[in-house]
Symmetry: C2
Subunit: 442 residues, 2 copies
């Protein structure tokens, strides 16, 4: 494993054999997961949370403010389960885990996986290993929303009672496919990529960082960027010391070329200098928007792996809820999709972020329009796609209200776990032996 990827305090269940949608069999495939709260006697107070592209099983890390007593994710009421997707660097089988056939990390040889593979292997853990009988609700945003939509379709009718999806789509759009392609190309351009056969400590940092910068912009909105950065300049506290940062400014300048010119122009941007011709020598500023992006790029390469990034973006490309499910002659693809959505459990909660330019509100409106009795909530947020990870208050309010209304029974009995006890309950008593739900035909 890439040494720099943070370790998470989580459980690992090893699935001895798992056949992927592509036909390849994974052997001894680890599935990393975390749980909160305790299963009730009926083994049905289960909340499944599905993470997004760069997330992990550690819900508290990325949706922490939603978790707690009397909040949307309440371990005193629910047995909460979140598992890491295949291909992610956070513990499940992926390019950075060991291929039992070779004894080396899979690297670029890790076979392609789909959203459906993730759901099926996570269901295996939840049912075969943890003994769950029924799932009260599945919740996820972005890629997690894709998995959420697949959950009921890959299990017997009634197994999943309710779903909640945020900022997602029923099929990955051309727009998202194209952004993924553009980001992968940045990684391919990095000489350290070596067609994926790099050493973990020598991954294509520059390419992955550039891909993240691009991705991050697609997660934000124009207006949120403007409010935060405008044309502010960033004056480094100390002169840049690394060759890399110099080179990236295009300012490693030979003697003939004056290294301070860009400074001058940029100081003018700040309105500090009235005359454009005679700048005073000062430390070189860059725009705050630039320095923020670089910071985010650097942060990302310390916690993610390039092969994993390529893998998961390609996984999302395969997402199409109707794929292979309801084919019938003369039906349009739109009709197929509508029919598939209509097969989902009724009374879904669908949440949009108004300024989301990546998974746009009409995509969620489409989902809601075909699931009978659905509720569509548009969060009036300017934060773009990332709104689903940021607008905690409104999301907590909508999700909690929905759960209390739709899953009344789970809010009526005694608590399944007390505060403080909840986090540890599962580790002691989560294994219930033989599964009672037969998933083999799904």
């Amino acid at each position: 494993m890439s040494s720099s990827i943070p370790r998470i305090d989580q459980q690992i269940f090893v699935v001895p054999s798992f056949t992927l949608e592509c036909g390849t069999e994974l052997k001894d495939a680890p599935v990393a997961y975390k749980t909160w709260g305790r299963l009730n006697e009926a083994r049905d107070n289960v909340m499944v949370i599905c993470h997004a592209l760069t997330g992990s099983a550690d819900v508290e890390d990325w949706w922490g403010p939603l978790m707690g007593s009397n909040k949307a994710f309440d371990p005193s009421r629910f047995f909460i389960f979140c598992a890491n997707v295949l291909g992610s660097p956070y513990g499940s089988a992926s390019p950075i885990t060991t291929n039992p056939a070779t004894g080396r990390p899979y690297g670029p040889e890790f076979p392609p996986t789909s959203i459906r593979d993730d759901v099926r292997i996570h269901q295996h853990v939840l049912i075969q290993h943890l003994g769950v009988r029924r799932v009260a609700v599945v919740i996820g945003g972005s890629m997690g929303g894709m998995a959420t939509l697949e959950w009921p379709l890959l299990s017997p009718p009634g197994f999943v009672r309710r779903i909640i999806v945020l900022a997602t789509s029923a099929r990955h759009s051309a727009w998202c496919i194209a952004w993924g392609e553009s980001q992968r190309q940045s990684i391919y351009s990095d000489p350290a990529y070596k067609e994926g056969y790099y050493e973990p400590s020598e991954q294509p940092r520059n390419g992955l960082s550039a891909a993240r910068m691009c991705a991050l912009l697609t997660y934000r909105s124009r207006d949120s960027f403007e409010r935060r950065f405008g044309r502010k300049v960033h004056l480094p506290a100390t002169p840049p010391t690394t060759k890399r940062s110099e080179a990236r400014e295009g300012l490693i300048t030979p003697p003939a070329s004056p290294p301070l010119e860009v400074e001058a122009l940029e100081l003018h941007n700040d309105g500090l200098d009235r005359d454009g011709r005679e700048p005073a020598p000062t430390p070189r500023p860059i725009f705050s928007a630039q320095s923020y992006l670089r910071y985010q790029g650097d942060k990302f390469i310390a916690r993610f792996d390039a092969n994993c990034y390529i893998h998961i973006t390609r996984k999302m490309d395969t997402h199409d809820l109707a794929r292979g499910r309801v084919a019938s002659e003369g039906t349009t693809t739109d009709e197929l999709l509508a029919k598939t959505l209509a097969m989902l459990p009724p009374h879904a909660l669908v949440i949009s972020i108004q300024s989301d330019g990546l998974f746009t509100p009409p995509e969620q409106a489409l989902i809601a329009s075909h699931i009978p009795g659905s509720e569509l909530v548009v969060v009036a947020s300017g934060e773009g796609h990332d709104g689903f990870l940021v607008e905690f208050e409104e999301i907590n309010h909508s999700v909690l209200g929905f759960l209390q209304r739709e899953l009344k029974d789970l809010y009526e009995g005694p608590l399944v776990a007390e505060d403080g006890e909840a986090d540890f309950a599962v580790k002691k008593e989560s294994v219930f032996g033989e599964a009672e739900v037969d998933l083999t035909r799904w």
Copy 2:
């Protein structure tokens, strides 16, 4: 010069000495330009057109449908002038032209230039070389719009009568600065970049191509992409032959890994196969949206240079109409900008593309709101930023109507050039000797 950059049939005027805003003096700086039509006796029937980031002086190449008798750009009425910006690979002084001090191309040592430098050196050619006395109208979109806004502020009051700007801003936004940074990072990641010191024939093609893919997406809209591509797959007529295209798919697979799996998943996307486990071996399809992006990336590297791309995106970062102009204590940057816009010639035409996510309609609304008597036209187009290069009919209609209304005098007299004659008139009689407009104090 990079051998692959297409030659344009254009004029070159060499400016013996030109001091840039950064303080560096360019010696023997070529300025490439094209003209259409003929100067009238008053030398004031002048239309200046300003090109965008990857454009050239050859207006017919990128705004061709707007050019012709009785169209917006009418060479039988106007003497039309378009010059190539500094730093562009299309003929003006740039990283790919020769530095007279060294006898070698400037490469990364080409000094930073600003939008104002472009306007000033183009004015020099127009006035000193072509003898123009007054400009009837300046027109430009995107980066060309930035230059258009600068034109009146860098010349005596009344020298520019009217301006028309499309899909542009009064100051480059944090959003645009960040996208430029993200694209430059892709180039920096390419080993062929060599801090800019590459041979013209060995430029960082992969990085530049990735940057273009990203940029192109910012020029489009989510919905236009969806309409055009959806989840369609692209089946290559022949199997891929180059290592590059294989590697980029992550599909150069060693024996242990099945190379056809992605095909299976993607064929399912097309709804062709009901069972996800046993795909038939077929040529590997990729999504049309991907193949389109790759095609555009390949096309771009054949016509552009990476150092030039870095240079011009940085040039745009310096754009702030208020920079250094109207500083006064206690004034906010918004107030400074408003004051500067109010100094522009009244009765401007400002055109927005409704779906433009890069230079957003509120940015043009801001421009129009501060220029007295301006007209704001929002083109109801779903094409995104590129709409200004695509929505010919509506743009032609708005621009022509505006010109006929605002520049009545130029439409009343006899034609300055007949059809067929217009294109050649200037080459014979465009030089009028000494300039009569003194720009030295602007």
